[in-house]
């Protein structure tokens, strides 16, 4: 055996689940590696394309992991967000009913919530609903109000968790799709296209592909299929239309289409819910978007759909098991732990899932020795828009890059963009910058700041602007240098002519 590095735990997937597990484990003296197929944290799966909600926990069936971990996870976010410097708003949520039939369902949810241990639940009358939400449709009859629900930026949070994990010693590799896993005695050989990693334990947090990963190692197979959800984001001038997360009564396909403010002040509409087969189908569709708009209007019909600034699709990792619950536990291959089939309320549950995985690993024999120097806090993020003018001036004096505004729509400075690139697990692409500091998320969707961000990325990463990508792989923004392209083309044409005439 070669003198290769042996990891204690290798986590597959750098979504919110994988990163949360990495951070949890980084509290202990362990060699941790997170292997991610995408180019960045939260770059491929549901962690970047979801409803951005912290669910209260009345929706999951009592007694399930979903229920327990949802409620436990929800409680943990205030402290986590404080430590990780991630904006969070405890807006509360409403499940609104438009008929007596639907009111009956509210009672059911309320019951479930109580059984699940959810605090701050109450059933409220139409008048009380209108007090909380003045713009809600007048057809509302009653609602279930959940105080503990909230909104957050899901990819911003995942990035913060990853950064803190890295800060505390966890390693990350990107652009590394796992193609094979073999148990070799008492450790695993995990293969990507480029290299091999050795690890005593493997945690499967591969989301939509967690079935593929599980089946690769030869454990008892299960399957996970994509359940597509389409969303619309509306301009910040529509954000006033909702103060809480407004749900409608759930169906067996999920919690339904909601209308919600985002933590940055936009209005979010969606998601639809449609079972599909293709795990790579990430497109929005005419039908899906129209459905989201139509159903959302049932709750709040005042929004102006022409104020939409972008739309996106997320794929839920829906498990094809009987109980449809999270698949969390050591598989029948010793040392291979699943945190699989994590769909809603997966984001809310993530910190609690991490705790549970830690305990499962401990039970499986992993030695957990606490690190004395574990730092739960990441370096605070400077957000120009949140500073006072005095703070801004002090900052600009020290670092003039904070006086240069690059994204005009969201008022993001060059200093913030440079910081986003230079931090641990920093941005390497246009989308990476966008998810960390919001440059490109405003009304013009990057038309103005795009070229400038490309320039900054090229400079900071010491690459040519031709190598800058939107989100890794071959999503290059630019294809050729002008002039050079013409000359090369002419040379090619000439070559063709020469060979044709030869």
């Amino acid at each position: 055996m070669t003198m290769k590095e042996m990891y204690d735990v290798l986590i597959i997937g750098a979504g919110v689940v994988g990163c949360s597990i990495a951070r949890e484990l980084s509290k202990y003296k362990l060699k941790i590696l997170v292997v991610e197929k995408g180019e960045d944290v939260a770059s491929e799966g549901a962690s970047k394309a979801n409803s951005a909600i912290l669910h209260a926990g009345y929706d999951p069936v009592p007694g399930t992991l979903k229920a327990m971990l949802n409620v436990r996870g929800n409680e943990m976010y205030d402290e986590l967000c404080k430590d990780l410097d991630v904006p969070i708003k405890r807006t509360g949520s409403l499940v609104v009913a438009f008929s007596e039939e639907e009111v009956k369902e509210l009672y059911e949810l309320f019951d479930r919530g109580i059984k699940n241990g959810v605090k701050g639940l109450s059933l409220i009358t139409k008048d009380m609903v209108k007090e909380i939400e003045p713009h809600i449709n007048d057809t509302v009859v009653a609602a279930l109000y959940a105080k503990t629900a909230g909104i957050i930026c899901p990819y911003g949070y995942t990035i913060a968790v990853a950064e803190n994990a890295a800060q505390n010693g966890a390693e990350f590799v990107f652009n590394s799709e796992v193609i094979d896993i073999k148990k070799n005695g008492d450790f695993f050989i995990v293969k990507t296209h480029k290299e091999e990693f050795y690890s005593k334990y493997v945690v499967n947090a591969a989301g939509l592909y967690s079935d593929v990963i599980n089946n690769m190692v030869g454990a008892k197979p299960f399957s996970v299929h994509p359940r597509k959800g389409e969303y619309l984001i509306l301009d910040k001038d529509q954000g006033y239309l909702a103060r809480t997360v407004i749900f409608q009564v759930p169906t067996k396909m999920g919690k339904g289409i909601l209308v919600s403010p985002t933590v940055d002040g936009n209005l979010l509409i969606g998601p639809t819910s449609e079972d599909i087969q293709d795990k790579e189908f990430k497109a929005t569709t005419r039908e899906g978007l129209n459905k989201a708009i139509t159903v959302a209007k049932r709750s709040v019909d005042k929004f102006d759909v022409r104020k939409t600034i972008t739309q996106f699709t997320g794929l839920r990792a829906t498990p094809d098991t009987e109980d449809k619950d999270f698949i969390i536990g050591e598989s029948d291959v010793k040392g291979f732990i699943n945190a699989a089939g994590i769909e809603s309320p997966g984001f809310t549950a993530a910190p609690a899932i991490a705790e549970m995985i830690r305990d499962i690993l401990k039970d499986a024999g992993l030695q957990l020795i606490e690190k004395v120097d574990f730092n739960p806090k990441r370096k605070p993020v400077i957000r120009f828009t949140e500073l006072s003018d005095e703070e801004r001036n002090k900052l600009i004096k020290e670092n003039p890059a904070y006086g240069r505004i690059i994204c005009r729509c969201e008022t993001v400075t060059e200093g913030e963009i440079i910081d986003a690139i230079r931090r641990p697990v920093g941005a390497k692409s246009l989308d990476g910058v966008k998810r960390r500091v919001r440059a490109g998320m405003g009304r013009c969707q990057g038309s103005f700041c795009g070229p400038r961000v490309v320039e900054i990325l090229a400079r900071e990463l010491n690459i040519s602007p031709l190598e800058v990508t939107k989100h890794g792989r071959n999503s290059n923004i630019l294809t050729a240098e002008t002039k050079k392209f013409l000359l090369e083309k002419a040379a090619e044409v000439l070559k063709k002519e020469v060979y044709e005439n030869a």
Binding site: I233, T308, I309, I396, R404, S447, P451, K470
Partner: protein, 419 residues
């Protein structure tokens, strides 16, 4: 706090025109605040010609046109703040801005001239379904890459929108070796200048597909193709006509939107049709002492008109700082049949010396129609116009005499009389 008689926000053709005019009319304590590294605004990347035929009786390229004014700004030594972004303006004319040298600072302005120009409508605003790969960009952004940075955004291009920016880029990209496979236009006519259809599309045999739109974008990491379809009278796609065009780039030229975030935050009333401030005959907005000109007020086709508008704004600003607030402009100007919008939206005939120039756009293409101005039942004007098209701004001058002699209580309406 700094103090300037006139603060001009934006150093493109509107801001430059206003600054030079103000200085030449005797107000020298002025400043131009520009967010880019150099003056010139959007003209800097418009290296094609067609500018200045009215203003200079020459056909110039964008940078040449801008330089005529930049030269004057330098000659007059007019104050300029580059790489400076205005963060906020208040109704009492305090401007807050930031740059990397001075940090955040405030300016008390005698008058403010808004000249921020416009931005482009992105993919998300028109909800094209499909994936979100690299290779989707607006025509202006493509223009910046090609003309200022020296990069091609793609090699096989489909352009959505046949406005002038899209047409110009069709030619530019073709000249630099890319293949433009088609220009797709939703309407049954192009909104670009006819000369551009000829020298940008016909010259290069680039097909123009009228009454078509893009209904889906394909490609995981980079654009791989688009699906287009014909549209019906309601501009809804006819799914049976769907066809796939392979390409690596989709360029969007689907509308310009005046950049009024600052105006909105200052409580300035905007016209929902133009997207710009509601102004009176002095180009003053609903906030006294704040004026608007150029693309921030209404999207123009010819920069020469922007310069003319900027001069009016400058003269109005000078009158404001010398004479104080004007008499209220309370006569409403409305767009009637066939007209999309009219600027100015409110007038006061006592405020003007000689005439008011009204600018407007028609809703459709009209051939051999009558352009009319009415107040109540009475006609103030009736002119035959050979061709009216949404792509070409119309201007109508109404003299003070005509306006004074009419009973304008019911406001004035501009309309098109067909047939």
């Amino acid at each position: 706090m700094l103090n300037y008689d006139i603060v001009i926000i934006g150093g493109g053709p509107a801001g430059l025109g206003a600054a030079v005019e103000a200085y030449e009319k005797g107000v020298k304590n002025i400043v131009i605040i520009e967010r880019d590294k150099y003056l010139g605004g959007i003209l800097e990347q418009c290296i094609h010609n067609g500018f200045g035929l009215q203003e200079f009786k020459e056909e110039l390229t964008g940078p040449e046109y801008a330089q005529r004014f930049i030269d004057k700004v330098e000659e007059y030594d007019i104050n300029v703040m580059l790489e400076t972004m205005v963060l906020e303006i208040t109704p009492d004319r305090i401007v807050k801005a930031v740059n990397s040298k001075e940090g955040v600072f405030t300016i008390k302005a005698g008058a403010i001239i808004l000249a921020m120009g416009c931005r482009e409508r992105p993919r998300g605003a028109i909800m094209i379904p499909g994936t979100r790969p690299a290779g989707i960009l607006t025509a202006g952004t493509a223009q910046r890459y090609v003309n200022m940075e020296g990069y091609l955004p793609g090699k096989e291009i489909v352009i959505l929108g046949s406005g002038d920016v899209g047409l110009i880029m069709a030619r530019r990209l073709t000249l630099e070796g890319a293949k433009v496979k088609a220009v797709v236009e939703l309407m049954p006519y192009s909104s670009g200048l006819t000369r551009n259809i000829v020298q940008c599309l016909e010259d290069f045999n680039i097909p123009l597909l009228l009454s078509h739109t893009v209904i889906e974008i394909h490609g995981k990491d980079r654009v791989e193709g688009v699906t287009i379809a014909k549209v019906d009278e309601n501009r809804e796609p006819i799914m049976e006509t769907a066809q796939y065009i392979s390409c690596d780039t989709l360029i969007l030229s689907v509308g310009l939107i005046p950049e009024n975030e600052l105006s909105q935050k200052a409580g300035i009333e905007l016209d929902p049709i133009t997207g710009g401030p509601i102004v009176n005959e002095m180009l003053e907005t609903s906030v006294p002492g704040i004026f608007a000109c150029g693309n921030v007020l209404q999207v123009h086709d010819l920069v020469d008109n922007v310069t003319a508008e900027a001069r009016l704004a400058a003269n109005s600003a000078i009158r404001f700082i010398r004479e104080g607030e004007f008499g209220k402009s309370s006569i409403n100007v409305k767009a009637g049949n066939g007209i999309r919008y009219v600027v100015p939206q409110k007038i006061n005939v006592d405020n003007i010396e000689k005439r008011i120039k009204f600018r407007m756009r028609p809703v459709n293409v009209y051939n051999n129609a009558m352009l009319a101005v009415k107040s109540g039942d009475k006609y103030l004007l009736r002119q035959k116009r050979q061709r009216l098209t949404p792509g070409e701004m119309i201007d109508v001058n109404l003299s003070k005499d005509i306006l004074k002699n009419a009973n304008l209580e019911e406001g004035i309406v501009f309309l098109v009389e067909e047939g």
